[in-house]
C-alpha cells in the first residue's frame, strides 16, 4: 500500500476509536505524523523486553498479540491499535506482536502522541474509554 496519502490516512483515523471525534483539520495534522510500515506475514513487530516508543494502528491485515509464554492473547483487526502501554508507563514491551498475514501498519511516536494529547485532551479520554471497554470485556 505505497500510495497512501494524507487524506487516506485522515479518513482511516476517523474510523479509529481514538480519533473518531476529531475534525478534518486535526486529523490531517495527525495523519501527517503517521509512518507507514508494511510487513510480510509472520513478521515480528516487537517482543517483550524491547523499549517501546511507537503506537501502531492496523491499516490492513491482522496482528496477533502473544504473551511472554507465546499464548495468544488477542488479535488486532483493521482500525484497531496496540503498543500504547509502553508509551504511557515507560516500561519495556510486555508482549509479542506478530503479523498473521501481509499487514500494513500506521505508527505514531511517543513524542507526537503526547503532543496530540496535550492539544486534544479528548484523545486521552478516548484511550481511557477503550481501556475500560477492554477491562469490561475481561470481566
Amino acid at each position: 500500500m505505497n500510495n497512501l496519502d494524507l487524506i487516506d490516512k485522515a479518513f482511516f483515523l476517523k474510523k479509529t476509536p481514538i480519533f473518531n471525534t476529531l475534525d478534518l483539520d486535526l486529523l490531517l495534522t495527525i495523519a501527517d505524523k503517521l509512518h507507514l510500515h508494511t510487513l510480510e506475514g509472520h513478521s515480528t513487530i516487537f517482543t517483550p523486553g524491547e523499549s517501546g516508543n511507537r503506537l501502531y494502528f492496523v491499516l490492513s491485515g491482522n496482528v496477533e498479540i502473544l504473551s511472554c509464554a507465546s499464548a495468544p492473547l488477542a488479535t488486532v483487526a483493521p482500525y484497531g491499535f496496540f503498543g500504547q502501554e509502553s508509551l504511557f508507563n515507560n516500561l519495556p514491551r510486555s508482549y509479542t506482536s506478530i503479523t498473521r498475514e501481509r499487514t500494513d501498519l500506521l505508527s505514531l511516536t511517543r513524542t507526537n502522541l503526547y503532543s496530540i494529547i496535550s492539544e486534544c485532551p479528548s484523545v486521552a479520554v478516548a484511550f481511557l474509554s477503550e481501556l475500560h471497554r477492554k477491562v469490561d470485556c475481561v470481566f
Binding site: I7, L24, D25, L26, L28, T111, S115
Partner: protein, 825 residues
Amino acid sequence: MNIPKKGLIQRIFHVYPDEIRNSLLFAFLGFLWAFAATCGLKFADALFLLHVGADSLPTAYTCTALGMFGIATILLYAYHRFSSYQIYLSVLSIGICLYLFFFVLRLFNLDESASWFWYALKLNGFFLFAVLMTCYWTFIDQYHHMQNSKRLYSLFSSTVFIGAASTGFVMQSGFLTLNSWILVTISLLGSTILWIRHITKIVVPIAHEEEALPGELNEANNSFTFLIKSILASPFTLLVMTCNFTVYLLLVITEYNYMSSFQQYFANSPHPDLGGGTEAQLTLFLGKCISAVSFSNLFFGLFIYSRLVRKLGISVMLMITPILLIFAFTGWSISSSLLFPLIGFFVVEGTLLVIDDSNFNLLLNAVPSRLKYKIRALIESFLEPVGMLTSAILLSFFKEDSKYLGLGLAVCLLFIAFTIRYRYLQALFFNLSENAIHFHRSVKRWIEKMQPSDQVLMKQKLDQFLQSQDENEKLLASEGILGFQDPNLLPDLFKTFETASTSAKMKLVQNIQKGIFWDHPLVIKKMNEWGKEDSSLSFHFVSNKKETEKDFQVILKKIRKENHLRLETIKALETIEDPSFISPLIRASTHFRPSEKRLIQEMIARMKDKAIPYLVDLLGDTSVPHSCRLLAGKIIGRISLPILRDHLSKIIPSDIERAYFYFYHAHTIQSKEPLLDLNLLCEILLTDYETVIDFIIQILGVSDEVEDEELLSRSLKSQNPKIRSQVIEALEKTVDPAIFRLLQPLIDDIPKEEKMRAYLKNQQEALNLNALIDRMKNSSLQIDQLKAVALKYELKLPGWMDDLHSQFSSKDPISHQFASELLDT
C-alpha cells in the same frame, strides 16, 4: 539544598557530573574500536609493502576506491532496514570472522606466495576502519543531542585519536608477530562488541523514533531514487556534501604540495652531519611535525574545541580551515618559505581532523533527521574515495599549477562555509518545522501546501468519499471540500446531502457556518429549502433566536450586528483624544477574541508616539498578565521596532530572573520545609517557570529577534531532547548574545544544579516559605495568587484571614469563588 561545587572533570572537559559515567563509556569505546581498526589497518599497510611492494600501491588504491563504492551502497541499504546498533555489531562480527579466516590461512601457511592475501588484508583493514568510523559516530549520536555533542564530541574524537596513536606504540615495540597481531586485533574487536552491549544495557538512548521495523518492506522509502530526491530537496544537505567533497579535494592537493615543497627544501639544503642524506632529514623532520601536530590535536580536541564552538558558534569554526588554506596557498605561490607548506601540513594533519571532522558531526544535526545517517555513510564511504580520485585526476592535469588550483578550491571552500553559515538557521527551522505538529493549520492551509497535482488527487478522493454510504465519511469529505473555498463546489456538495439524515444536514450546515460561505446566497437558499422540508431543521436554524422570522438573510444580519458590538465599541474609543484608556483597554484584552485584539493593535498603532509611554509601562510591568504585555509589545513593534528592542534589552533580563526564581524555588522549597507537603506548590512554580519562558520567546518573536516564535515555543516543550537542542541552537543564532547568555542555562538540557548555580551566581535571593508566599501573592499569575492565599490559609500564617477576605472581595469570579469555598470550610 546545597549545590555541589564544580569538579575537576567538569572544569576541564565541561562534562557535567551526571554525564561522567556515560562520557567515559563512549570515550573508551572510541579508544577501543580505533585501536582495533588501526592495528588492522597499519599492520596490513606495512606487511603489504613488505610482501607485495610499493609498485602495487596504485592497484591497491584503485581496488580500495571501487570497494568503497560497493560498501557505501550496502551501508545505505543497511541504514534503511536495521538499527545503528545492529549494523555496528554486524560490522565488528564480520571483521572478527575475516581476521579469523586470515589467521587460519596463516596457520596452514597458505599465504606465503599468495599476493591476494596481502591485498585482502590491506583492503579489509581500510574498509573496516572506514565503516567502523561511520558506525561509531552513528551509534553515539543515538545518545546525544546537539547541545551536549558540542561539549563532548571533541572529547570522543580525541579518544579515537589516542586509540589510533596507540597502534604506533605497539608497532614501535616490535614484539608482535603477524599471528599475534591478528589475535590482538580479533580480541580488541571482540572487546568492542562486549563494550557496546554493556553500553546499550545501561545507557538509555535519546528518542530514536525514526527506526524502521525489522522485516519492514516499504519499498517506496527504501529506493535510491527516494534518497536522491530527498537530498536534492534539502539545500543544506547538498551544501554539507559539497563542503566535504571540497575538503577531500583540498586534502590531497595540499598534501601533494607540501610534500613536494618539503622534498625540494631538503634536497636543496643537505645536512651531512645528520647522516643518511636528505631522506633521513625529511623523515626526521616529518616525524617531528607529526609529533607536534598530534600533540596539538590531542590538546585542542580535549580542551579547546568545545569551548571555542560554544563561544564562537559552529558557523565561525567553519571558516578556520579555508582561511588558513587561502593564506597558505597565497604565500606558497609567491614565496618558497617553509612556513606555508608547514601551514598546509598543519591543516591536513591537524585542523581537518580536529576541527572539520567535529564541525561535520555538529552540522549533521541540521540535516533532515531521516537523511542523517545515510548522508554520513554516503560522505564517508562514497564521497571520500571519489574526492581523492578526482583530485588525483586534477593533479595529473594541473601539476604545475597545483598551488593555484589549491587556492581556487580554498576560496570555493570559504564561499561554501559562508553559505552554510547563512543556511544553517534555515535548516534548523526546517527540521523543527518537519518535526512539529501543526495543530493550528486549517484544512485550507493543508491544501495550499500541497502540490497542484496532489490537490487534484485530494479533490478526486474527497469526491469518492462524498459518495460513500457512511455519513461520517460524507461529512468528513464535506469538510475537505469546504477547505478548497471554491463556491462552485457548493451545488454538488448540497446534492450529495439531499438524501442524508437530518443530523447529517445539521452537521453540514454547522461546518459551512464555520467557514467563509456562511452568508453565501446559495447556502441561505438551501437552508431555506431544507428548513421548509423538515421542520426540525427549521427549528435548529432559528433555535437560538427569539424571533420567528424565517428570512435567514435578516437573521444573519442581526447575528453579525451582535457579534460586532464589542468591535464597534473598540472603534468608538479611537475617537477619544486622551490615550489614558490604552492601559485599561489592554488589561481588559485578556477576555477579548483574536479579532478584537487585532483591532486594538491597529487602532492603538495609529496613535503612534502618543501611545508609546503607556505601552512601555505595560510591557515592563511584571504584575500585568503576559498576554497583555505581549499585546503591548506587538503594538510598540508596529509603531517602532528599534524602540521595542531597546526596551526589551532592559525588560527581558528581569523576566529571565523571574524564570530563574521560579525554577530555583521549585527545586529547593520542599527541602527547606520537609514536614510540609509542598508538591502542588512546586508544580505551580514549575508551571510559572514554563509560562515565563514561553513569554520570553514570544516577546523575542514580536521584536523579530526570532523567527516563528510559535514553532520554537512548542518545540521547546517537546519530549524529544534532540528537538529541544535544535531550538536552543536556533535561539543562539538569532537572539542578542547578551540575552542568550542569560537565557541559555534556563532552557538548555543541563543538570538542574547548574541552573540553580546560575541563579545564585547573579546574587539572587533564596526565599523561605513565608517570603515566597508573599511574593506569589503579588504575582501577575492568578494561579500564584490563589495558591498563596490557600497556603497561608492551610498554614495559618499571619494575615491569612485578611488575604482571604481581600480575595473574596475581588471582582474576578474565579478568585471570588475560590475564596468563598475556603471561607465556607
